[in-house]
């Protein structure tokens, strides 16, 4: 025998980590960056959020705020499982949803097999709070033999066809060389057109006291544009303890997601599905996509989002004419001022 040949896996775990070796290696750029005037851009970057391994720790929320200087977003308890963040917004660029369900999770055995007789409910004081749909709302004495707790970190989808960008009149929202969609805080005038345009309800204008950073300006995830520029993983993905949030080339992430889905299906999680990755969906595929264990609605996602600017070609034409007009005017002005 040769004890040196131990039984341990020789797999180098480091090789499997996103953002270490393969984060910037794709040679096929693809994606929307070339259409936005980027010559030989790097490959499109995005997130694959595998919610099946999310532990709901919210490191992504904190790491995002720390890196991006996003202010605190309210100190209210929501009574919605462990979620006190609520939703994405100007001051929340990552949001972890918690869903408590009376459903089995694949092979998981929750050990809950008892049925207790329900005593007659005492008269409840109505505090005017909606009981509808809240986790653990009294279920009327039915058997609780199945339970699962889903967690999922939501983020801007960085759509291939991004409505927010389409409607932005100032050029503040722009498509970066990484194929992501980013607000330029020095350009945004706070008009708010982008807010209703987003089919996912991601972007919002920051409300706050005078002096709050970027108050009044539309804000959302930048996929850590500054970090991408220096070959660093976005803050949320870097922090994620279980690598539920994976960062990398969108093409590569799609492959990884498909493989993971196969594994879960084989493991009995038939309801598992990918969300957003399909290039043929209503937004042309998202740069940030998800592996979900239930219907998208369960997580608060629109089931079939469509870019709100679907009649784009006509808009492009108008935009082009307007640009020519502006240019002519500008040239005139400058010609007149030439010393």
């Amino acid at each position: 025998m040769s004890p040196q040949q131990s039984g341990f896996s020789e797999t180098n775990l480091w090789d499997n980590l996103p953002g270490t070796k393969n984060g910037f290696s794709s040679t096929d750029p693809g994606g929307p960056a070339p259409d936005a005037g980027w010559e030989a851009p790097p490959s499109r970057k995005g997130f694959f959020t595998d919610t099946s391994i999310c532990i709901g720790c919210k490191a992504c929320e904190v790491a995002c705020k720390t890196w991006n200087g996003v202010p605190e977003d309210g100190l209210d308890m929501l009574g919605s499982s462990y979620d006190n963040t609520g939703a994405l917004g100007a001051s929340t660029w990552r949001h972890v949803a918690f869903i408590e369900q009376r459903k089995p999770l694949g092979s998981q055995d929750t050990g809950v097999t008892i049925t207790l007789p329900e005593p007659a409910p005492p008269p409840q004081v109505d505090l005017g709070m909606p009981a509808f749909g809240l986790p653990g709302a009294p279920g009327g004495g039915d058997e609780r033999s199945e339970f699962r707790w889903l967690m999922s970190s939501d983020v801007c989808k960085h759509c291939t066809n991004a409505a927010c960008l389409d409607v932005c009149p100032t050029g503040s929202l722009f498509r970066t060389e990484f194929g992501t969609v980013v607000v330029q805080e020095d350009i945004c005038n706070g008009c708010g057109y982008c807010v209703p345009a987003c089919p996912y309800g991601v972007i919002d204008r920051r409300i706050g006291e005078q002096g709050t950073k970027n108050v009044g300006i539309a804000q959302k995830c930048t996929l850590c544009y500054d970090r991408l520029g220096v070959d660093e993983t976005p803050a949320c993905a870097k922090a994620c303890p279980t690598q539920s949030i994976q960062f990398g080339d969108v093409d590569e992430l799609r492959e990884r997601a498909a493989k993971r889905l196969e594994t879960l299906h084989a493991g009995g999680l038939g309801e598992a599905r990918l969300y957003g990755e399909d290039p043929n969906n209503g937004v042309g595929g998202t740069g940030a996509f998800f592996l979900l264990l239930d219907e998208p609605e369960v997580y608060g996602f629109p089931p079939d989002p469509i870019v709100t600017t679907a009649d784009l070609p006509r808009m492009w034409k108008n935009a082009g004419m307007a640009a020519v007009g502006l240019l002519a005017a500008a040239v005139t002005v400058f010609a007149g001022r030439r010393p």
């Binding site: 929320e61 503040s172 722009f174 020095d186």
Partner: protein
């Protein structure tokens, strides 16, 4: 002013002359945006550290600019944490730099309703005086059977478990030499 250059930098010009006729990408990138860079890159130095919360001992990298901490994030070299941090570890920057952090020495006199400012040196002197007095007041040479105790019951300490080993070592060493025995820490709690 180089009008020609400025003019050509105009988004609308770049829009028409470049590959971004609709003004959605490269053409509208502002100078400010173009200049953005990560503060991890502009930091003066990176210092290796360890997360101060739970006992997993995640590696941290501390980025310092102009003698201020500008970012703390996971150290990918750590075989324990592999660069990852939990929400508390990720909030380490705020732990250190939060404006709400107490950085001023304060003193509350007996029966007073308010804090007052006081110097650290002065406060330390006051404590040294009180320790010596309390140590004497509650000194025990022997027990009732005459066996040596060599201790004082006049003071006690309760430490957190986020202190360094070197700090705990000096604390235990000093208090033991003083004869103070009621020295405890979080491990009992």
């Amino acid at each position: 002013m180089d009008i020609r250059k400025t003019f050509l930098e105009w988004p609308v010009v770049r829009q028409l002359t470049g590959g971004d006729p609709l003004g959605r990408g490269a053409a509208v990138q502002s100078a400010h945006t173009k200049a953005i860079t990560a503060r991890t890159k502009t930091a003066d130095r990176v210092v290796r550290s360890v997360c101060p919360y739970c006992a997993v001992g995640c590696g941290q990298r501390v980025f310092v600019k102009d003698e201020k901490v500008v970012q703390i994030e996971g150290d990918p070299d750590s075989p324990v944490s592999r660069g990852r941090l939990c929400p508390k570890g990720s909030a380490s920057t705020q732990l250190v730099t939060s404006p709400g952090r107490a950085t001023t020495m304060l003193y509350r006199a007996p029966r007073s309703t308010t804090w007052q400012r006081i110097g650290v040196e002065e406060a330390t002197d006051m404590i040294a005086d009180r320790m010596i007095e309390s140590r004497s007041r509650r000194w025990q040479d022997t027990d009732e059977q005459g066996r040596p105790l060599r201790r004082t019951m006049g003071m006690a300490a309760l430490g957190g478990a986020t202190l360094d080993n070197e700090e705990n070592y000096l604390i235990k060493k000093l208090f033991t030499a003083l004869g103070a025995i009621q020295i405890e820490n979080q491990a009992r709690i």
